[in-house]
Symmetry: C2
Subunit: 295 residues, 2 copies
């Protein structure tokens, strides 16, 4: 997906949110934003928004010296999500269609993304979560296609999004394993926003359940300019790829592979691209008309 003008204010807002977490001085904040404004004048609109958003995090890291501003939030969100994990499992156990329930839980993990919330509150309201899952209206629902594709698949690459969300993914991944699939989970090689890293996969116990590979970088989504050989091998080997969240969608929508995107449209642009409304949730099979980039 290409970058639009409307991504610019969003990239700056992301930078401000990150700076606020670093607790750096106002003077450093202003200096960082100035450098970002300067860099954004040279933005490449042909690149995915995720690539251009990286700039905000790289500059913030450089000028504040804080490598992982979301460290505490990630730990807290893993912990909070693990507390409700047994109850998430119960939802699946009590569902007539366990797989579909698993997907809904994975979507819910994306909905509660703590990286987007301004106050960084990590308290999960389980009643709201239950309500969300019960009444989840997929604005685009390729579940039947997914089910069919899953029936034919052996190797699944599960491209994760955030820490905390990973606990919700675990419920879904367990259902995939039950269907005798070989699931590989990918996480970031370093901290970026609140995206899951190997540490998070370990904290939520996914490393003992599936093979965990790193994307090869600390860049948002999947940046094929710096993917690890290991990731690339799994990407090519997979006959079904599950991609969580916006960053992965932005960077994978035009890649020739059998990908199902599971996400909430947290901005108007993503909603437009998916033909759904802002804040809608969806499970969508990649449309070959979006591109056919070979990797």
């Amino acid at each position: 997906m290409k970058t639009d003008l409307e991504c610019i204010p969003c990239i700056i807002r992301q930078c401000i949110n990150t700076l606020n977490l670093t607790k750096c001085s106002e003077s450093i904040k202003r200096k960082t934003i100035n450098e970002l404004l300067n860099d954004l004048e040279k933005i490449d609109y042909d690149l995915p928004p995720a690539y251009n958003s990286d700039i905000a995090y790289i500059i913030s890291r450089k000028l504040t010296g804080v490598k992982d501003p979301y460290y505490k939030l990630k730990e807290e969100s893993n912990k909070a999500a693990l507390e409700i994990y047994p109850r998430l499992k119960e939802i699946v156990a009590n569902s007539p269609d366990r797989l579909y329930a698993g997907i809904k839980i994975a979507v819910e993990g994306n909905i509660i993304d703590l990286g987007i919330s301004k106050d960084g509150s990590s308290l999960l309201n389980f009643e709201k979560i239950i309500d969300d899952i019960k009444n989840m209206p997929f604005a685009a629902d390729d579940y039947s296609k997914f089910r069919k594709s899953l029936g034919e698949a052996k190797n699944i690459l599960y491209i994760s999004d955030n820490a905390g969300e990973l606990v919700f993914d675990r419920v879904f991944i367990k259902e995939l394993i039950k269907q005798h699939k070989n699931v590989v989970l990918s996480v970031k090689s370093g901290p970026i926003i609140n995206d899951a890293t190997r540490k998070d996969a370990e904290e939520v116990g996914l490393d003992s359940l599936v093979k965990v590979v790193e994307t090869g970088s600390d860049r948002i989504g999947v940046n094929f300019n710096c993917t690890s050989d290991e990731f690339l091998k799994e990407f090519r080997k997979a006959d079904l790829i599950i991609s969580k969240g916006q960053g992965n969608f932005e960077t994978l929508d035009d890649v020739d592979a059998n990908i199902f995107f599971i996400l909430k449209a947290k901005c108007e642009k993503i909603a437009r691209e998916l033909g759904i409304n802002y804040l809608d949730v969806a499970i969508v099979k990649r449309d070959p008309r979006w591109g056919s980039k070979k990797v």
Copy 2:
């Protein structure tokens, strides 16, 4: 009020919204945003956000050649609001406290601000308006202070905000006139966003009801660097000033005068300054602790 970092993405978003209305080419849009990014590197954080937002509109005007991108929207919103004007009057007529009802209608006019809506839809949903007015929970309510101040006042300066909203103001202003007050209405001297100009005051029939003065410029809020002598005279003469909307609040909060701000907090910063929540509505007497600038 001073500018915060968080105002920067908002200023850029305003510029993009305005560019979209001009129907200019993508290339001109990008050029405009680039010039804005460059200018924002030199932003003066000690100035009100409104002054810094002006930059977006000045650059957009310069590079697109479109002087009044909101022209059609303003005309449409005046027309749509006039259609429901008789029903707004009925609300007041049927209220036990006509003045309070008038204020609520004036607030509602600010709530439905068409300049903020992304699709520029000018269709007013009267049922929703009635609901809003009935259930209007002022997060800050200095109505009793306002009533007292009004009892002692002779000359009122009513500083308007948007076109369309002006019709709602007219209902309130009629109540002020009924109390034998001398009301002067201020409008912008030229087009900026969807702010009311003399043309709008005429279109909604306010010019035949009250004296209309121009602020002296086409700048957001009240910019004392370029106020007209006429405006300044009325500002100094007034023993009660009613200020509508955010732009006026941003530029008048620190000015030593008896001002009541009537607005909806359409951003987090304004909400913080007023001690209310984002999207709350309020009628607030100016607090001398906000400043004591003499004009």
